[in-house]
């Protein structure tokens, strides 16, 4: 057997993962694996807890996207208790949710994925971070990034009750009214957010799209996968993060399914692989065809590019303009180039900012009709939102007193688990030849997962029945003297 390269930990993502690349005797890639060795296990340990605790418990899954879990859980409670939220509650929730989407997408562009382009894919790793980004875009621009995210987080703390783990959602409503006196501040922030989104798109245009080498990289077959796509849409098939039906299109962008949250289990099936804690979902209608792309593939993708591929447009004017520009430059729908996720994410940034402006003007936002308390006996509920990383599904069953008896979470990153595994192996095969491996090439392998903005801390809740374990025995000098593996 040839050399094995391990990237551990992989960097600039949420959670912990590693990549093993196995070279053959000629120094070319034999296999590459994307491994998620951590287990969170929330699906199991929430059993026996009161359903109304779920928005708080599940938001602890992650410190980066607690708002997505909080909102999916809240919507699942609406369904569980059979109660329709008031119009005001919907407006407050959606406003709050778009604040979150705006700041979270910016986190990825400037701190996590963006450095690969802004600083360069093969730049020294010490520079591929926010400090390297500030060095490139200038101190003033760097300050703007930090300031707008800080202002956004402050508003989220005000509306959601806490800066990180919100206490906003209740079955049928929200816990707190937005006062009319706050409206001007919300409108002012939305206006600033739109300007900042335009600035960010302009920077992307100047740094990435104006650089032929980067455009070639985006369009290269190193980062290309034909798959199905899934995303939430409104009644006009335009992207919506908070509410709507889930639309699925095939690799030719033809609609193959459109379903209500409660029907997700008839569309999505899940399988467990013995080598990872992350589940591998696929489209039930197509069936599991293995880790393969193309027209017959059962694999689907989620996240910004998938949402845009699965929709027929954006609901706000500037976002629609950028959406059309993206597809025009990248050759029409659907776009299968994984690195185009970065551009799609920025289209969503401006959509989130514009949607904030729309909602800040909505009369119902500040009404005191924050809660519908026509609660029914709890049974079963499904809540779906579009998390920054894709379609997020919470499904609960309870007994008659509202105690959880079963929970199923299909977290956004899980939706991309098969595509990420295939993507890193494909990138490794294309990039590593004849034993030539260096830091820049390995980072370009990482770019194949980083574009998805995966959140592995959110993604591993299944218990396959046995826990793989590796025990390393070292002497007092730290020298490895024995290694035992249980698979």
């Amino acid at each position: 057997m040839g050399t094995v390269y391990t990237i551990d930990p992989i960097t600039r993502l949420e959670g912990h993962g590693k990549i093993d690349i196995y070279l053959d005797d000629a120094g070319n890639v034999d296999r590459a694996f994307f491994l998620v060795p951590e287990l969170r296990g929330f699906e199991t340990f929430v059993e026996g807890r009161p359903a109304e605790d779920m928005p708080q418990i599940t938001s602890r899954i992650c410190g980066v996207c607690p708002t997505a879990h909080h909102m999916a859980a809240t919507k699942a409670l609406d369904a569980l208790y059979g109660v329709e939220p008031t119009q005001t509650a919907k407006a407050v929730r959606e406003f709050f949710y778009n604040l979150f989407m705006f700041e979270d997408h910016l986190l990825h562009f400037y701190f996590l994925g963006g450095p690969d382009f802004i600083v360069g894919p093969d730049a020294p790793k010490s520079a591929r971070n926010i400090l390297g980004v500030i060095d490139k875009v200038g101190l003033e621009a760097g300050k703007k990034v930090i300031e707008i995210r800080k202002r956004c987080r402050a508003l989220m703390a005000e509306i959601g009750g806490k800066p990180i783990h919100p206490v906003l959602g209740l079955p049928g409503g929200v816990a707190k009214q937005i006062k009319e006196g706050s409206r001007e501040e919300l409108k002012s922030f939305a206006s600033e957010a739109i300007s900042f989104a335009q600035f960010t798109l302009s920077a992307f245009n100047d740094i990435v799209l104006a650089n032929k080498a980067y455009v070639d990289l985006v369009l290269s077959d190193t980062y290309y996968l034909e798959s199905n796509y899934m995303g939430m849409v409104d009644s006009s098939n335009r992207v919506n993060f908070y509410d709507g039906k889930i639309r699925v299109v095939n690799p030719s962008a033809a609609e193959i399914d459109k379903f209500k949250p409660a029907d997700y289990a008839s569309v999505i099936a899940e399988r467990v692989e013995p080598w990872t804690y992350i589940k591998v979902p696929y489209l039930r209608k197509v069936g599991w065809k293995g880790f393969v792309g193309g027209e017959s593939s059962g694999i689907y993708r989620v996240a910004p590019l998938a949402r845009l591929n699965a929709a027929e447009g954006m609901a706000t004017p500037l976002a629609q303009e950028e959406y059309e520009r993206m597809y025009s430059i990248l050759g029409g729908k659907p776009v299968h180039n994984t690195l185009a996720l970065h551009w799609a994410r920025l289209v969503e940034v401006i959509y989130a900012a514009e949607r904030l402006a729309q909602l800040a003007d909505a009369e119902e936002l500040t009404s005191d009709d924050t809660r519908n308390m026509a609660l029914n006996t709890p049974r079963e509920g499904v809540g779906i939102v579009e998390a920054p990383r894709g379609t997020l599904i919470h499904h609960y069953e309870s007994d008659e007193s509202g105690v959880i008896t079963k929970a199923n979470l299909i977290v956004a990153t899980v939706g991309n688990s098969a595509a990420i595994s295939m993507g890193i192996e494909q990138a490794a095969r294309k990039l590593i030849k004849n034993g030539v491996v260096n830091d820049g090439l390995l980072n370009m392998v990482e770019m194949a997962f980083r574009a998805y903005d995966p959140c592995l801390s959110c993604a591993t809740h299944s218990l396959p029945g046995k826990m793989p374990m590796e025990i390393r025995l070292k002497n007092k000098s730290g020298l490895l003297i024995n290694k035992m593996i249980r698979n």
């Binding site: 109304e52 308390m373 609660l375 029914n376 008659e400």
Partner: protein
């Protein structure tokens, strides 16, 4: 017939959720007495009664907790 539901120690929205669940199991005309010490309980139970067409007979402050009497 009077049913007593002890929700002391539970925070919003739990007391009203428990009351809603309990109410669904009882026949119309039953009196439900809910004991709770969450600060928002009086407002919540008042709104729940209004939304569900129940008669809120009284909310009595017992010092460390409140008792809402509801005619279902």
């Amino acid at each position: 017939m009077v049913e007593v539901l002890n929700c002391r120690g539970l925070k919003c929205p739990q007391p009203v959720l428990k009351a809603a669940i309990k109410a669904n199991t009882l026949p119309a005309g039953t009196t439900l007495e809910v004991h709770a010490d969450c600060a928002s309980f009086p407002d919540d139970v008042t709104k729940w009664c209004a939304d569900r067409g129940k008669v809120l007979v009284s909310i009595v402050d017992q010092g460390t907790y409140k008792v809402a009497t509801i005619m279902l």
